[in-house]
Symmetry: C2
Subunit: 428 residues, 2 copies
Amino acid sequence: MIKIGLLGLGTVGSGVVTIMENNKESIRRKVGTSLAIEKVLVKNLDKERDLDIDSRVLTSNIEDIVYNPDIDLVVELIGGEEPACQYIKEAINRGKSVVTANKLVIAKHGTEILKLAREKGVQVSYEGSVGGGIPIIRPLKESLAANRIHEIYGILNGTTNYILTKMTREGRKFQEVLAEAQKLGYAESDPSSDIEGYDAAYKIAILASIAFETSIDISSVYVEGIDGISVDDIELARELGYVIKLLAIGKRCERGLDIRVHPTFIPRSHPLALVSDVYNAVYLHGDAVGDVMSYGKGAGQMPTGSAVVADIIQVARDIHSGRVVTPSLDTTIKHRVVDINEIENSFYLRLQVRDKPGVLAQITKVLGDNKVSLASVLQKHRLTTVVPLVLITHPVKEQFINKSLKELKKIEDVVSIDSLIRVEEESI
Amino acid sequence: MIKIGLLGLGTVGSGVVTIMENNKESIRRKVGTSLAIEKVLVKNLDKERDLDIDSRVLTSNIEDIVYNPDIDLVVELIGGEEPACQYIKEAINRGKSVVTANKLVIAKHGTEILKLAREKGVQVSYEGSVGGGIPIIRPLKESLAANRIHEIYGILNGTTNYILTKMTREGRKFQEVLAEAQKLGYAESDPSSDIEGYDAAYKIAILASIAFETSIDISSVYVEGIDGISVDDIELARELGYVIKLLAIGKRCERGLDIRVHPTFIPRSHPLALVSDVYNAVYLHGDAVGDVMSYGKGAGQMPTGSAVVADIIQVARDIHSGRVVTPSLDTTIKHRVVDINEIENSFYLRLQVRDKPGVLAQITKVLGDNKVSLASVLQKHRLTTVVPLVLITHPVKEQFINKSLKELKKIEDVVSIDSLIRVEEESI
């Protein structure tokens, strides 16, 4: 029997307990022995729980788990940076293997944690930290191990994808859809980590560190959220043959790695364009395998529980068979994350301009002087003096676009610059 | 150093050699030591090869590999049932682990081979046998291990998917597109195993045996190919909101398992409907994870090579670290594959009938008497005496449809029954 210490009995923790109970027999066959949840760390021992669990296993003292010699495997599902990170290190130091779904801890401290696990001869698995139940971490480490991965594109945050899907389908405003998502439980009461793109940034940093065998400094990842996306942009994207997604990108580029998260125009015919609602997807290109995509529910009690229990099964199987499997260090190679100003992209640019002769000429001159050339121009003629002007550029370094914007603002007949959204087209 | 004996240097074999050479350093880091191709079994030692390989490693004698004590790992890429199966067993008997992409051998003899490997304490991996480079076998065994899998739907044959895609997009006939696919190398000169559905049947049998922890008798799998699909059916499917795909299905059902391969109407909005050309996909539903789909190139030198080299890396890593990893037997549970006559499906039925009053009433009476109720009726009025009549039924057991067809043929004004295609809608 393998004894497990569970840290946290919230949404995912309860899912893990449920799955382990529902599929007990099949799990026992796969591990080769039965699994027992020996102790569960909770904040409040007396809280009413919707779960069939023996109250004697509950504890509010972390020492009952990390200092417990009976426990082989610690499953961390508290979330957040601390004390989760501390507990994980404590468990490893005591010779226990760890399974976690904590993207924040893995993105920020993964290298250190994996190094410690290697020293102590224990395993650390974190399939649940990215993409909920979609098999992605292990396939990237194992099934795609023969490939040099060139690019990863991910829709890695269910909340923002739900909001963008609703805005696209129903033509409703960001704030309105966000409020509804909060009411339905699809967005948290403090949705900033999702909306501002940080959740997706942690996840792409984790995927990129595996794919590019490196350690990614999370502070070097460019992040932009979806709160600035208007219904006008979504409608114009549609007219131009695109959809807007919060895309997490990890690419090899000339001088290092290109890692970023931002709203992105994606061609409507691309498989990622069809990933809707709370679904997540990872699309990648490897030199041998070509293009591969995985798709599924990226969050939630049962999908994330599925990933966590899969990790538990693998680690428990190894413990049971007496195997020593130390995590390989994915940080062999030093890569620089290239500054966003140096990255080339196509851009969608929406301005309000006065409907006068010569305005377009002035604008295109500014752009041309800054090495920005245009792929398409869409001018909406209306019976007003101020009209929208929509431009899509050819790929150009971000710094030139920024310089152009400064100069465009000085043109008298440019009333406002409303949107600047990157377009992913060349390599996707 | 881990020494490999490669059986076969055809398309996939050459891909494996190329990938191992291209990504040598990264593979060495992942394994923990370097890999060497010690011997390669070929038919013709003197053949000119487009490959940078030392001619001294080539041999035409299988004994140089399976009896070679230096070789730790045998990679079987000859294909076909024999002598491949014999060589695999021979290698296992000599204590060597095996990696293979041979769907025929695994579908027919997998249980026996895994049992033998277990006895001898060696590994057998076969990721390349299904879905080319798409990670599917290992994710099903590991990342989704926490789930009770309810259903698997696969587009598992690239040749037939290419042909159906071309027929759909260009309105061209089966024979014409097949001839073109053969010219382009997308279909073999003898395409029967692809066209008739057997290739997909081997693959779904392999996936189902893992998902349902059982041994599938391949002869109990119902198989129907795409050679009967007409452009009319494809066009009518489109009008009714479907696309036609060669679908491989593995489901749990009331009295056992429902495993089959046949052309199928799929709702146009379903993710599988968008899998085009030579792409493959596996869509499954697990009790915890919900719906998950993986998508990628299902065949070819480099994609299949990617899967084979991934297996080589995993097995070599285990051999290098001295781990003994014996395959778990997936055959614990006895399931019966339910006869197709007992399976319930909706059906698309296309007939030619005389355009006379009372004909539809006669037809619906026959159907009703046989428990077949209709979900929709499409009658095309034309300026001819014989018109097409298209029916879609509610789910009904196959035996009742077959009985109905026999009786419909006897109605004088039913000129011909042109098509009967299953519709997947309820559970997909």
